[in-house]
Structure formats: structure tokens, C-alpha cells
Amino acid sequence: MARNDGEAGMTLVVKTVTRLTVGLIFLYGIYIVLNGHLSPGGGFAGGVIIALSFINLFLAFGAKKTFEIIRKDAVTALESVGAVLFLGIALLGFIDGGFFSNFLPQGELFSLVSGGAIPLSNIAICIKVGAGIFGMFLALVAFRGSEREGK
């Protein structure tokens, strides 16, 4: 139920709970990404969680407050940055034999810094996916908004 008490967003309860939890959701996304090579999860899952934290913010507080935190063109730019980073990591593999070769030292199993280039790829994927999904949400929602104004 979206009631407008003079300001955008949802009711008080949703806003207060969002305020308390959204940062922790964001943090959990980062956790999933950074531990992606050790436990279930990874760049995609973490990116989705991070995108969901922003979507949560958007739904609870409306567009204006969300864009104070992250601008709309920054979202689309970040998506491309993530893709370019990922591709760059793949191409850097050429210094060690070929496309997507793991060019960094593998490290010790079950340590946070291990797996060579895989955590880096995870971070790149996370940026790409997070920005992509939030951008997709914005595209769909912003379109609905323009439709309503048009009528």
C-alpha cells in the first residue's frame, strides 16, 4: 500500500525497517561476493543481493532519496565498467597462456585470498550484475512513471 503522506515512498513502518536493514543487506551482498570462491554464492548472487538492497531503498523511500545515494547514469556506467573489468581480467590471462587463464598465484585453499583471479572476476561480475539488475528495475519503473504522467 503506497500512501503518500506528503512524501514519496511507503508507510512509516517500511521506511524505518528499511533504514535499519538496508545497509546490512548491502554488507551481506559484499560478503557473498568476497567469499564466492570459498562457499556457495559468488559474483552473480552477491550482485543480485546488492541490487536488491538498492531496490529496497527505492521502493521504501522513492526515487529522489535513492538518486542522492547513487545517480541514475552512474548505474548504467557502472554496468559497463563491470563488463570491461571482467573482460580485462579475461584478457590479462594472455600473460599466462591464454584467454581466461588464471594469471595470479593460486594461494592457499580455504584462505580468503586464494583462487588467483577468480575473486577479482567475482567482483567485476558483481558490479556488472548489481548495476544491471538495478538498472533494469529503474528502466521498468521509470517507464511506468512516465506512462502515468502521460495519461
Binding site: 545497509g23 546490512l24 548491502f26 559484499i30 584462505s111
Partner: protein, 169 residues
Amino acid sequence: MKSRALMFLAAFAVWCLLSWPPTALQLAAGAAASLLAAAVMGRMFITRHHMLGHPMRILTFIFHYMPVFTWELIKANFDVAYRVLHPGLPINPGIVKLKTGLKSDMGLTFLANSITLTPGTLTVDVDKEQGILYIHWIYVRGRDIDSASRAIGGRFEPILRRIFEEVVP
């Protein structure tokens, strides 16, 4: 700024719980991640941080509110289970208004969520200006707003007032 610092502490604590037992690397990564989370999302984590400076309020929350809430939860569970299992299905659902004296966002949210979490009652909407909660009740006992307020929120409200309100009447 204080809100961001608190966010950082909370985030770091959560990180430590997630990666238990923490290694040095995990802690370093956690600090970086918490910083990022605090920088991005920390601005509105807590609006009235001076409230955390009163240890009585926190103690009241843990040692008074939590037991009361747990007891109400158990009672309401049995009540709803009885209504469901009873062959006559003694329900009388309806939406009632609840008048509250709470003014702060946190207080209202905790009241609304406490009411929602106890089975049988569900907060539908909150009107902050007039201090009114709209509640769906499985067995509406009376049409009178004061009795409804007492029956549903009576146990929580005084405690929450002592925890969250700036000036305790």
C-alpha cells in the same frame, strides 16, 4: 556522521558473525566492506543517535520488552491455535483503529511490528500525524477505540514509550 560510524560498527559485528571464526584477512576485508557499506548506506541508519547514550533504555529493551513480547507471542499463538482447532471456528474478523501516544518513528515501527508478529493481529497501516494504527484483528471484541487500544497494544505501549520516546510522561 555519527550514524555512519554506528553503521560501521554494526556492519563489522555482523561481518564477524558471518565469518566466524574470523581470521586476520577476513577481519581486514570486513573492515573494508563495512566502511563501504557505511559510506554508501549509512547516512540514515539511525537518526536519533543520542538515544543510544541512555543505557537504561537499552536495558529496558532487553530485560523488560523482550520477555513481555515473548510471553505475548506465546499466548497469542495458543489463542489462534484454539480458534483454528475449535469446531465452531469462533472468529470475528475486522479492522479496528488503535490510538497510540507514541510519536517517534522507531516507537511506532516497533509497536506496529510487535502487533503484526503476534498471531491474530496485523498492522495494516500507520497514520503518524494522528497516532492511529489500523489493525486487522481475528476476533474483534468491541467497537470502542479505547478498549481495542488497551486490548491489543496495552502491554507494549508503556514499555516502548520508555524506550523510544524523548520525554517520558
